[in-house]
């Protein structure tokens, strides 16, 4: 809704667009309390926002300038209603959201700011909700959003979707933002699982929107969508009944969403065109190997190691190397895994990464050296970033102690 209204008012009047939506929701609370919720609440909201926009445009017909690409069409009754109607039509709204998505991924904004802006404008998250999604202070997030909106407003016009060159140039930044948005939900630190599932769902909704656009339907977008589906399929098993994090190794795989797995595998197939391999392709391929294994023992670790080899060639980093080492350890035994971890170039950069120590701990544990394992898990515990991780690692420390005693 904000996207459609911004298209009407112009990006420099973004706040005005958000106020109109806010107004529409306030009206809804008033009217629905009195008359009950209408049959189609979202259509009701949309119509209310549209009428409110028309009121404003009539009242301030010449006092402001609106979206420059609409020229003077909003100044006159000849054209005002048909133009606003068209911008609110469902196809137009989809385009508006895409346009806003691309606008939010402005190169002058940091990736964090881009994601915060997408959440605020396109997903309707208030500053408080964005803050709890990022586990950050509300004031800091408010500042970040306000600053980002200023940058957006300076750009005068929204992103033009019809220019294929600009579209392709901005597309990787949009992919990145959607990837981070999804990951924030999947691995993120927010203790509220409700917010996190919501983040994943929003990322998937926006990615699906991108897939509907002829220029957005690239192999990389398909790969990103595949990755999201395959990971999302595992969400129901990631946290068990008592709210504890379950690692991939001891998830109840019957809880995986088979439909999402199928969807993800189909998308992955669609992504296998063209010549450009992206990290999304590789990450999705790894997720697919896991998804195909009914039990953890069935996992094709050899395939996973070779995908990590490809990833090391494409985007080498200590974290990728660590994940590769873990896969090697699964494939060829814990001793080999430990060797690979010790051989990581720039391994010291992993010193603040809890999973580095956790991986060392797991391999030592498997080799029966539970005292060493315990030490590593304690180090990991010291670096843990959220209560769920902390609880999980504390459990591992206790497991080591049980074996020793």
């Amino acid at each position: 809704m904000v996207a459609a209204l911004t298209r009407v008012f112009g990006v420099h009047n973004l706040t005005m667009a958000q106020d109109v939506v806010q107004d529409a929701f306030c009206r809804a609370v008033e009217v629905w309390a009195y008359r009950g919720v209408p049959e189609n609440p979202s259509a009701w909201l949309m119509a209310t926002a549209k009428n409110r926009a028309l009121d404003l445009l009539r009242r301030e017909r010449t006092a402001r300038t609106y979206a420059p690409e609409l020229g003077r069409l909003l100044e006159s009754e000849w054209t005002l209603v048909p133009v606003v109607e068209e911008l609110f039509a469902s196809d137009a709204i989809k385009d508006d959201q895409l346009r806003m998505m691309f606008s939010c991924c402005h190169p002058r904004l940091s990736q964090e700011a881009q994601v915060a802006l997408v959440l605020n404008i396109l997903c309707g998250f208030g500053a408080g909700e964005v803050a709890s999604a990022f586990v950050s202070g509300r004031a800091a997030i408010e500042k970040r959003i306000t600053r980002a909106k200023k940058v957006l407003a300076q750009s005068k016009t929204l992103f033009d979707l019809s220019a294929p060159k600009d579209f392709s140039r901005r597309l990787p930044a949009v992919h990145r933002a959607l990837y981070l948005l999804f990951n924030e939900g999947y691995h993120g630190a927010s203790p509220e699982s409700g917010i996190r599932v919501e983040l994943c769902r929003e990322a998937m909704r926006l990615t699906a929107l991108l897939l509907e656009h002829p220029l957005g339907r690239t192999p990389a977008t398909h790969a990103l969508a595949a990755l999201q589906c395959l990971n999302c399929a595992r969400l129901p098993a990631r946290v068990d009944g008592s709210g504890d994090l379950r690692s991939l190794f001891d998830q109840d795989r019957s809880k995986w969403d088979r439909e999402l797995v199928q969807e993800g595998l189909k998308l992955l197939e669609l992504s296998a065109t063209g010549s450009k391999l992206t990290t999304y392709h590789l990450e999705a391929a790894i997720a697919a190997v896991h998804a195909r294994a009914p039990q953890v023992e069935d996992t094709d670790w050899e395939a996973i190691v070779s995908i990590y080899d490809a990833m090391m060639a494409l985007v080498p980093s200590p974290v990728v190397a660590l994940n590769r080492a873990i896969a090697v350890g699964q494939f060829q035994g814990p001793r080999r895994g430990l060797e690979e971890i010790r051989a990581i170039v720039d391994g010291d950069r992993l010193a603040a990464y809890p999973f580095y120590f956790a991986a060392l701990g797991e391999f030592e544990f498997k080799l029966g050296r539970s005292d060493r394992a315990r030490g590593h898990f304690l180090e990991a515990l010291a670096q843990a970033r959220n209560p769920m991780e902390r609880k999980f690692l504390r459990g591992r420390v206790e497991a080591c102690e049980e074996v020793s005693s």
Partner: protein, 113 residues
């Protein structure tokens, strides 16, 4: 550049909602075209067909309609054009002509002192 007023008469009153909407979209396109080419001086407004006429020293007030539907002024806009010939050419894009209406092209008169 001189200024001209277009007076529109007649209007589309029949047709399905889709047809009416299509017709309105033609107006949008025509306005946008005039604007982009720098001719749209004032986008004016359409006029409701009802109203009253006030006339004479007695200031008599008579309810509309004032004339047959096709003769009622349906609205106005102002354009910038090089001369009357160009103003007439530009007026030929008006969608009202497709539904039996008319455009009256009138130069703005600069009153002498």
């Amino acid at each position: 550049m001189s200024e001209f007023t277009y007076l529109f008469r007649g209007r589309q009153t029949t047709g399905s909602p889709e047809e009416l909407q299509k017709h309105m979209q033609k107006w949008v396109a025509w306005f946008q075209d005039l604007h982009v080419k720098g001719h749209l001086k004032d986008p004016g407004n359409p006029l409701d067909p009802t109203g009253v006429v006030v006339s004479g020293k007695q200031k008599t007030v008579v309810d509309g309609p004032f004339a047959e539907a096709k003769d009622v002024v349906a609205g106005h806009i102002m354009v910038d054009a090089a001369d009357l010939a160009q103003a007439v050419e530009l007026s030929k894009g008006c969608p009202i002509l497709e539904v039996g209406g008319s455009v009256e092209v009138r130069p703005i008169q600069k009153l002498m002192r």
